[in-house]
Subunit: 608 residues, 2 copies
């Protein structure tokens, strides 16, 4: 007899009875918080509660006699295992013949039926698309109920952590200055009101920080901005006396986080309202829209103007970031030395190595938290795009092959990110060829000079070129923006060779921070990624325009044991030697241990 | 007393009296034929007739008491001179404070007035934009009258030259095969009818050629395509018995060119009609629109599907193109030798040098015509983007500096384009630095490997990089597509680093031909451009996708007298030597003169 997961089946039965009472025929549960954050807190893990699958991406759809869960290729095996005996059907996204959720609903919902979901965890674009498609079948939407509320009795609470204030000195710009720039942008768009839903943008604007999202130093919040008022919706329990005092002083009106929908629903707007469809959840959008229509004003969907302001770091931010990256690079250097010295001699797993690095970073002054969960992947594990070693499930690191470590932290002074692939023993000639080309690509991009107006698409080929030349590609972007004491992934800039139609393709501008991370991933064999973080600086301005270039922020040795210069153009050898000289000159003074320093000298030696 | 141009004034007076009779308050005369061709025949030079200015770009607007002519920076001085004493005001386009034509009309036309123009010489996009803007002032448009018709009594006739047939063997694909592919595209768009206005697309599709546009081997024509009929509108006088016989055989219904508007106006459409807004003139569009609306069918604005089919050359075309480029390269090589040998010894001007090259090309078998007027520009003249030497106005070429020659021809087997900048005497070190970087850029781009899906924007930086590295840019695209026994400029692909929003950014695909022409232009000093033509070929296909690369079609020596390898990366020196070896190996066998062959050996020697 086959195994039956009665726990999940009982939960689904309870959900179905609530659905019936509410007149909801299909209920959809995606993976998101109210702000489309990169990580969702336990409170939001409704899909996991009702089907058992705990991967980072998945949407559960339930009707009276059906339950289906959609996830992507990373999770097919895991989802099958975790949902065994639940009766929930697995839909393998992107596989041939597998319908999308929208297609499934369109085919299976009957005319006049009702689709329910919590409109706060669905983006406006997905919500609008569903609404449009299903309107042809006269399906109604019910989006103001979170049905889990009553079924999931032992649900974890919404994250509730103290907020804190960053000084104007640390931020380089006061809230008042930033607000004035935001209001200028609102005027430019012809809007007198602005609802901002994006957590890191709100933190950047207010110079406040929080701790409600894993690895992102942000607080759950909304901001509503008019020409004479700034209202911040946060949980009362997060407002310390320091935060309260600061808000009073700078003119931030504090309102309860939970009252935002009521506020929007009760407001009457006397001017057009600015919002960003990408960052506003569907319930907020629909509530706004209704009120706007009543007041005969329009909603203006524009890119949050805060996004670009936040991305172009000011002088203070840049100075602090440079310093933080040097210290972080020195720690990483010490860690690389530790791995190489100890591998094969002490017990070492992917997980224990990551813990070691995390604890070394935590010693640095101003350390706040990791900027993302450290990726530590040994040999073939490194070929898996989203591999995550856990204490219970991780490989032993032996004195052969390579260990890929992608890691970073947020400090009072900046947020870091860096990847090194560390040689821990014998490697093949093929690996050296791949490693050398990856390094050549990383250094080529970092060496680019380009006219202002270029986007990541213009320069991406410099990183991919050495790999493309040998018929290899990596199936991810080359670079992403990085926040200042904020999220490790931020827009609007990024470096890719192709963009989805209509995607945000922003020019690279002075003061932006961007990663440069080519890689090679050979299934069941090895994975290589080398990631430096770059700062966009001005080269010169003349009759042709403004020439920009990159400056390295990361200064950590690149493993010469995996470099064979016979696979490198002379130009790239030169770049590598120049980079290594800078690494030694800048990082050695930060390293106290003479043994490590001597090793670094050797690790950054000139190669021919 | 100032000079009065009574000829122009009398012409304008006659025009104004016709305008008054027709109830037209403002009359606009741009520079175009009915098909937005690159060159306009004398018949279309209405603007020149009414104001005296004969540059390649200009629009004249006339009202009862005003006449203004808009042109761009290339022509400010020339226009001022040529319009002296005419009373026509010069509007310097893009200069601060100078209104666009649309802005001028909007500001100066009175409510209810009438704007007239020949709707056949205005593109649909310009027409629609004017219509929209001026509708706010209740201005009406009269677009079905060419007022010059009655005033310009000695007007040249519309071009009328024999058409001819290319064999299926030469084209690699029959009309029937091409038509079947076009009909498949029509089905894909859901359209049962298709009006094609673009001359080179019509010629490509029918395997016919003509001689109605300077340097473009095309006939004035429209094609109207349904699922069971193909109608070709051409001037009866152009249809030779050979063409007639061919058309009868392959099922092309011949109709009179001048009846096309009547045909469209009388047709009743029973399915949606495909057209391309970029290539359809405003009168045709309005006539189509009216009939479509009557028949309750829609006009579908799509990119002409013929454009992409024409751009991806078939195997026969590619084979012929390769051969033609070799022969053309050998001729250019002989010309370079002739220049270098004779400069300072025989009288030589920019113009006479161009004539020499043109006559050498005309000796080649299958020569049809130049693919564009040869650009021959000496020293500082080469820094001017649109410099054109004429017999009466050209510089003497002396034994110092450089001569830039950009030239090409159409042969029975392909259309060529190539630029070389030839050293004719002493040059400065700065010029060598610029020249060397230009060559490095050209060779770098030609050496690219890239994944299918890349557009010209992805690879442009490879050509510009060496110049950007030294803070120099060129203010033009890096590359354009080229036709097969057709126009030297064709889409959809091109290589640029930025595109206007909404511009056509087409992927580079196997079989496409594209130019690679970086340059340096230093005002009042020198101009350098090196242009090779490249073919897109498949490198390999594997799990990452299809990798493409370029193969040179042009094999002519690059002047080593202007190369200083100390300004080059070792990689670029290697590319240069590899290229020059190919030049010698492929071109020397085509050169009979032993002296030239010996010189070529030296001119393509390996450099260190």
């Amino acid at each position: 007899m086959s195994y039956e997961n009665t726990v999940i089946k009982e939960r689904l039965a309870s959900l179905r009875s609530v659905m019936e009472r509410e007149g909801i025929d299909f209920y959809m549960m995606p993976t998101s918080d109210f702000h489309n954050s990169e990580y969702s807190a336990d409170f939001f893990k409704v899909r996991e509660y009702f089907c058992g699958f705990d991967g980072s991406n998945g949407t559960l759809v339930v009707s009276k006699d059906f339950a289906g869960m959609w996830t992507d290729g990373r999770y097919f095996i895991q989802a099958e295992n975790q949902m065994k005996g639940t009766g929930v059907e697995l839909f393998k996204m992107m596989n041939p013949g597998v319908p999308t959720i929208e297609e499934y609903l369109f085919a299976n919902m009957k005319e006049g039926q009702c689709l329910g979901f919590d409109g706060r965890v669905i983006s406006t674009s997905i919500g609008e698309s569903l609404e449009k498609k299903l309107s042809a079948k006269k399906v109604t939407l019910k989006i103001d109920k979170d049905l889990a509320e009553e079924v999931w009795t032992d649900r974890p609470a919404l994250p509730l952590h103290d907020m804190y204030v960053l000084s104007d000195e640390l931020c380089g710009k006061s809230f008042a200055q930033k607000l004035s720039e935001v209001r200028d942008a609102m005027k430019k768009f012809g809007t007198g009101a602005y609802l901002l839903s994006k957590l890191d943008d709100i933190c950047w604007l207010t110079n406040l920080r929080g701790n409600d999202v894993e690895c992102n130093p942000v607080a759950l919040a909304y901001a509503y901005i008019t020409m004479d008022k700034f209202s911040l919706f946060v949980q009362e329990g997060e407002v310390t006396s320091e935060v309260k005092e600061y808000c009073d002083k700078v003119g931030i009106e504090l309102r309860d986080y939970h009252s935002v929908m009521e506020f929007v629903g009760d407001s009457s707007f006397d001017s057009d309202v600015l919002y960003d469809k990408r960052n506003t959840n569907f319930l907020t959008f629909k509530t706004l829209l209704k009120k706007a229509q009543e007041g005969k004003v329009a909603l203006k969907n524009e890119k949050d103007p805060t996004e670009l302001m936040k991305a172009q770091k000011n002088k203070t931010e840049i100075a602090n970031i440079r310093e933080v990256y040097l210290k972080d690079s020195a720690k990483l250097t010490e860690f690389i030395y530790w791995v190489k010295k100890n591998v094969g001699k002490i017990p070492m797993t992917e997980y224990s190595a990551a813990m070691k690095l995390d604890s070394m970073r935590a010693e640095l002054p101003g350390y706040i938290e990791l900027s993302f969960p450290t990726i530590s992947a040994y040999n073939a594990n490194a070929a898996m795009a989203h591999y995550e070693a856990t204490e219970d499930n991780c490989a032993e690191v032996k004195a052969e092959g390579m260990l890929l470590v992608d890691s970073g932290a947020t400090y009072m002074g900046g947020t870091t990110d860096v990847t090194r692939t560390i040689v821990v023993g014998a490697i093949s000639d093929e690996i050296k060829r791949h490693y050398t080309a990856t390094v050549a690509g990383m250094l080529s991009l970092a060496n680019a000079t380009f006219l202002e107006g270029c986007t990541g698409r213009n320069v991406d080929i410099l990183a991919r070129g050495p790999l493309w030349d040998m018929g290899i590609d990596y199936n991810h972007g080359t670079g992403h923006g990085i926040g200042y004491i904020l999220n490790v992934h931020e827009g609007p800039q990024n470096i890719r060779w192709r963009f989805a139609p209509g995607a945000n393709e922003a020019p690279l501008l002075e003061g932006m921070i961007v990663s440069d991370e080519p890689g090679v991933y050979i299934q069941d064999s090895h994975g290589i990624r080398i990631e430096n973080i770059l700062e966009v600086v001005t080269d010169k301005e003349n009759e042709y325009g403004k020439f920009l270039k990159f400056a390295h922020l990361t200064y950590a040795p690149i493993d010469l044991e995996a470099i064979d210069t016979k696979y490198m153009k002379p130009e790239h050898v030169k770049l590598l030697n120049e980079y290594h000289k800078m690494v030694y000159d800048r990082v050695a003074p930060l390293i106290e241990d003479a043994e490590v320093k001597a090793w670094l000298k050797e690790a950054t030696r000139e190669v021919q």
